[in-house]
Symmetry: C2
């Protein structure tokens, strides 16, 4: 889960099709795509997931479905991202199998402690900063929150919430392995350029961090 991670938001993509934004993000270096649809009926969600899966295939980038195990099963997605209000982890693992990538959002310290005993593939540290694209969370972790989770958790960390070219270096240096963005790519005037810039900063920061820690 190292690198740039795109979480989709159709409503944020403006007049461009989501499909095109995803393709440009992939060309720009995005390593993982999470399809997030909170208001789409099941059938069109499945159809969209099938389209996005086909776009991802030549890049060998995994498709993660937000919340909906049914959609993940129906399209044969690579994984599922669950929040604290979604499917319990053990049920998701039972149906998706040991190879699936399962990510879990942590929104408070008790979530981090509970996740320690689960074989999740990464923790979504959510939100790092307050953001208008996700309003159902309480508080924000901040960079100190990432550091605190990093010093405790055995899982890779994907930071999300209010991240952009101006602060992703700090998030990586604080301990984030992956950087998830929504509007920094979906709402960018040029999603390809935005992804390239973010990817470059994240890779440099990861190298820098790894050098410092040796």
């Amino acid at each position: 889960m190292n690198g740039l991670y795109l979480v989709t938001d159709r409503n944020c993509c403006g007049p461009r099709l989501l499909d095109r934004v995803v393709l440009e993000a992939l060309k720009g270096g995005c390593m993982c795509v999470q399809l997030r649809e909170k208001n789409l009926p099941t059938r069109p969600f499945i159809e969209e997931a099938q389209r996005i899966k086909a776009i991802l295939a030549p890049f060998r980038v995994p498709l993660i479905i937000n919340d909906r195990l049914d959609v993940a099963l129906a399209v044969g997605a690579d994984g599922l991202h669950i929040g604290q209000d979604d499917m319990p982890y053990t049920e998701a693992r039972k149906w998706l199998g040991p190879e699936a990538i399962i990510g879990l959002s942590v929104e408070k310290w008790a979530d981090v402690e509970q996740a320690q005993d689960l074989d999740v593939d990464y923790l979504g540290v959510s939100p790092v900063f307050q953001t208008p694209t996700k309003t159902d969370t309480t508080g924000a972790w901040g960079l100190d929150g990432i550091k605190k989770i990093r010093s405790f958790s055995r899982h890779p960390l994907v930071a999300i919430g209010g991240l952009n070219a101006g602060n992703v270096k700090d998030a990586v240096m604080a301990g984030a392995d992956g950087i998830a963005v929504v509007s920094a790519i979906c709402a960018a005037s040029d999603p390809y350029q935005a992804a390239c810039e973010l990817d470059s900063i994240i890779r440099d920061a990861l190298k820098n961090r790894n050098t410092l820690s040796q």
Copy 2:
């Protein structure tokens, strides 16, 4: 799928808990319960389904989940009801297995024809009459629609939409095997009495119909 079939609507239950309305419907003769939640996050939907399943167990009445295969799998429900905008039938069958009850809503004639080749357990004829509890449908089948479907389809028919004590006899005589209601029980001042009355009319009509057809 013969008899009285309850489709839940929490918002319709007023100050009474859904759990209590379901229990009273079961005591009143309800033969099947479909849990329908279009706006509940996954985790509370699963928790509600687990509660309702426990209430149904002593009555040996099947629990059908509306739309959400993930919830059905997580709670081990007896079946799934899918609409034309939900999970494709073949995917639902693949994950739920041959023993599960899978119902499919038909909203236009093409749906009825397509369903003929599917091993669905019943067709939901939806809506029979216009109703305020479900607004995403086009047109209404009417009693003539039930007759037309009955003369063509090989599947049991569950009629839904605007059915109440005043018209369920006609729906059964037109060919409905099951009668699904939402507000006729959920919004009734006495859900137990409402269920008893509906159950009595439906059973008499089924006997009457079967006698006439011999």
